[in-house]
């Protein structure tokens, strides 16, 4: 599996409001927490199991209706949309994280069985299992004697 997001994120005008274009907000204006307009790479773990690969992505604040997961031409794309909060903010006292949508994409290797990909979202964590296609599993070949 190769990560594909080393380049600039393509503009997805069908999904994102005009303010989100793969770049951050203009420098110098700290984005207030109620206006998500940034795009972040979710942090991810990928590990191997006997059946294939399992991917975990941290998507804090993303619920089921805001998540889009797509496989197209071997490319796995995830987009998590954050909903705005309605707090009336008098003052931001301390800010360690900024609020924004999540986007990341990968190129799947040929031995992933695209039809059996399964995904589950719980407590802001997405788990995607990418099972190996049957033919890609090691097969023992009986060697016959003469």
């Amino acid at each position: 599996m190769n990560e594909q997001d080393g380049q600039l994120i393509p503009r997805r005008s069908d999904l994102l409001p005009a303010t989100v274009s793969g770049t951050a907000s203009p420098a110098g204006t700290p984005s207030s927490p109620e206006q998500p307009q940034l795009l972040f790479h979710p942090q991810m773990d990928i590990y191997e199991t006997d059946d294939g690969l399992v991917l975990y992505a941290d998507l804090p604040g993303v619920t089921l209706d805001g998540l889009e997961l797509q496989v197209q031409d071997k490319k796995l794309t995830l987009f998590g949309r954050i909903r705005q909060t309605a707090d009336e903010i008098v003052q931001v006292l301390h800010q360690e994280y900024q609020i924004g949508h999540f986007f990341r994409s990968f190129i799947l290797s040929d031995d992933v069985d695209h039809d059996r990909i399964e995904a589950r979202l719980a407590n802001g964590v997405l788990r995607v299992s990418l099972p190996r296609a049957e033919r890609a599993k090691p097969r023992r070949i009986e060697v016959a004697g003469n």
């Binding site: 599996m1 997001d5 080393g6 600039l8 994120i9 793969g22 770049t23 951050a24 907000s25 420098a27 110098g28 700290p30 927490p33 940034l38 795009l39 972040f40 790479h41 942090q43 991810m44 773990d45 990928i46 590990y47 191997e48 199991t49 690969l53 399992v54 975990y56 941290d58 998507l59 804090p60 604040g61 993303v62 619920t63 707090d87 009336e88 903010i89 008098v90 003052q91 931001v92 006292l93 301390h94 800010q95 360690e96 994280y97 719980a122 407590n123 802001g124 964590v125 788990r127």
Partner: protein
């Protein structure tokens, strides 16, 4: 260490960090990567007309496993985020997410109504609402003339 101190506005490292964030924002790709090794969980504190609201990004834990305590003007958040049981140490191809015990201590900016504080956990975000304490009546203290 407390991450927030009221009335101590001169904090060169905080300023520097913010400047750095601002710079890195313009280089979108590096922004998250460079700053990902920060505290877990990351917390924000906002002030609304009636309360202080602390939010923390803690994806992937159970609500009941989060320990929230408050004492002497300090809010303490504690918990553990465990890796999936099926994963083996040597089976990782990519490892960016934090796992292990975590602990944050936050000094509150003002007195809060501890009896009415409320914590909700949803979609990986812990949100603690701390209503502001109603200011107590000012008490007059008689000044006696010394001997």
């Amino acid at each position: 260490m407390a991450i927030f101190r009221w009335g101590q506005s001169w904090d060169p490292f905080h300023d520097l960090e913010q400047e750095l964030d601002r710079l890195l924002q313009s280089v979108h790709q590096t922004f998250h990567m460079v700053r990902s090794a920060r505290n877990f969980p990351q917390c924000n504190i906002i002030e609304t007309p009636s309360a202080y609201i602390v939010t923390a990004q803690i994806p992937g834990v159970e609500a009941r496993s989060i320990e929230v305590t408050i004492s002497a003007g300090c809010l303490v958040l504690k918990g553990i985020r465990r890796p999936p049981e099926e994963s083996r140490e040597d089976s990782y191809r990519r490892r960016e997410r934090f796992h292990g015990a975590w602990h944050r201590k936050i000094s509150l900016p003002d007195r809060v109504d501890e009896d009415n504080m409320k914590a909700d956990y949803s979609a990986g975000i812990l949100r603690i609402t701390l209503p502001r304490a109603t200011p107590g009546r000012a008490r007059q203290i008689a000044v006696n003339e010394g001997p």
